[in-house]
Symmetry: C2
């Protein structure tokens, strides 16, 4: 019988822990407050920001949305970022992407204060993830996967982890986080020959390709732990990178979509927000 | 018949290219000059520094060794590093490790000017290697491996590369550099179960474990390209991480030790030195 790795359960546990931490911080006069930098009027970003704000309020944390016009120039945006670095009422912040084309995103990332960089955009935090140094912050989605594995006490050490996808927000950082936990890690991608054969070798299979239902039954060995990071829309419904109906029959454990990794990501962001207050 | 991947041939070709570049720079009044920071009197570091200096001179580049007492404190060493950043006569520099125990190596790495960081110690250059961004500098040994693969036109795209070792100077950066070239990359280490089985799947096998002659014939499939990054001393002679006599009978191509990767590393450093002058 397949074990459903519910992201909601993980998020619930994280929420409890975070609430306790926030209460302690509040008793010391600190209200952990998230900043969200929003440039322009992109619908998705706006809706994410509003939902994150509600989430913060539910937990007793603060949230300020810093909204700037789509036409803002590089210098002005950099000034706003530097102000956020100095703003003692904002403990950590994220910048919604994509930024408008006139903005040099790399230069923006470089001026974020690493101590407030709770979505791991700065070179300093990225380098720490690469080095397996836990003193920084990780990309929230990659860490959400680790939180799920830890919550369900899935053994990682010595296991073969196969990751499909090599993005800077999931595949690459996750490969280093699994390596840090002593997995033997294989990174696959669009140029991998015989992907099915590679995937079938996995004890832990991470689907982070961003392609709807691309992991089918012929890519999964019986007993595999399958983590589906994908969020895709197909025929009006949300689906992952895994063809769930097929793969759940083979997997020993699997994350659903929705209700899997995606449910944990925002809570990881808030966990990292609380961590900034401790550092 | 096994192909011997001579590092010396690669170094020779790099030397030619670098000499041409140095001549061009000199005609513009620039003498590319390497700085070597040496703290204390460690025999090995001193001998490396002196040999690098000779190498520079042979090529027409400059080299200054900055020697500081073993007892130097953090503040003083940081001041010296900041001076090197400002020193317009030094185009790139390296810091010999290990540093004495009173020195916080991480803080030193963070203040190096990334534009002069030709051995990839700064978070900014490390993050670039991780992201597959070629605009920075790579750890010299990892890049030496890539230079060898390129020189001998070993196909990388779609190939299975298996790396034994996960250090920040070879295993991790090399995994990202091979990924960038579209290899399917597996990272193995001391906690990998059934290392032989993993290694046998390699089209390109990189031995970077730092353990003398640990890669034996039962870990290599016929036709594998074997790159030996190890430099170990055993019974008074230099040996790699690969048991050469056994593995050369199976490999399609193999780097010798000595005369393999190690022969290329210093030339890569000088290549990166010349690149600093172009940037």
């Amino acid at each position: 019988m397949v074990q459903i790795l519910s992201g909601k359960a993980v998020a619930q546990k994280l929420k409890q822990d975070i609430t306790v931490e926030i209460d302690i911080l509040k008793s010391k006069g600190v209200i952990p407050t998230l900043g969200i930098v929003l440039v322009g009027d992109e619908e998705d970003s706006l809706s994410y920001a509003n939902s994150a704000k509600k989430r913060c309020e539910t937990l007793g944390a603060g949230c300020n949305i810093f909204k700037f016009p789509a036409g803002i120039n590089q210098d002005d945006l950099e000034k706003k970022i530097l102000e956020l670095n100095e703003n003692r009422d904002i403990h950590g912040y994220i910048i919604m992407k994509p930024l408008p084309s006139q903005i040099n995103e790399k230069r923006i990332a470089e001026i974020i204060d690493p101590a407030k960089d709770i979505d791991c955009m700065t070179p300093k935090n990225i380098a720490k993830v690469f080095a397996g140094d836990n003193t920084g912050f990780s990309p929230c989605t990659a860490r959400a996967v680790m939180e799920i594995l830890n919550f369900y006490q899935i053994p990682i050490e010595g296991k073969r982890a196969v990751i499909i996808g090599r993005s800077m927000v999931v595949g690459r950082p996750l490969s280093m986080m699994l390596l840090k936990q002593n997995a033997t890690v294989t990174i696959c991608h669009t140029r991998t020959r015989d992907l099915a054969k590679e995937a079938k070798r996995a004890d832990i299979l991470i689907a982070a390709a961003g392609k709807a239902e691309m992991v089918t039954k012929d890519m999964v060995s019986p007993g595999t732990v399958v983590i589906d990071v994908g969020i895709n829309f197909k025929d009006g419904r949300m689906v992952g990178d895994v063809l769930y109906e097929e793969v759940e029959k083979l997997a020993s454990a699997i994350t659903p979509v929705p209700g899997g990794v995606g449910s944990v990501t925002t809570m990881v962001l808030l966990k990292q927000l609380v961590e900034t207050c401790r550092k």
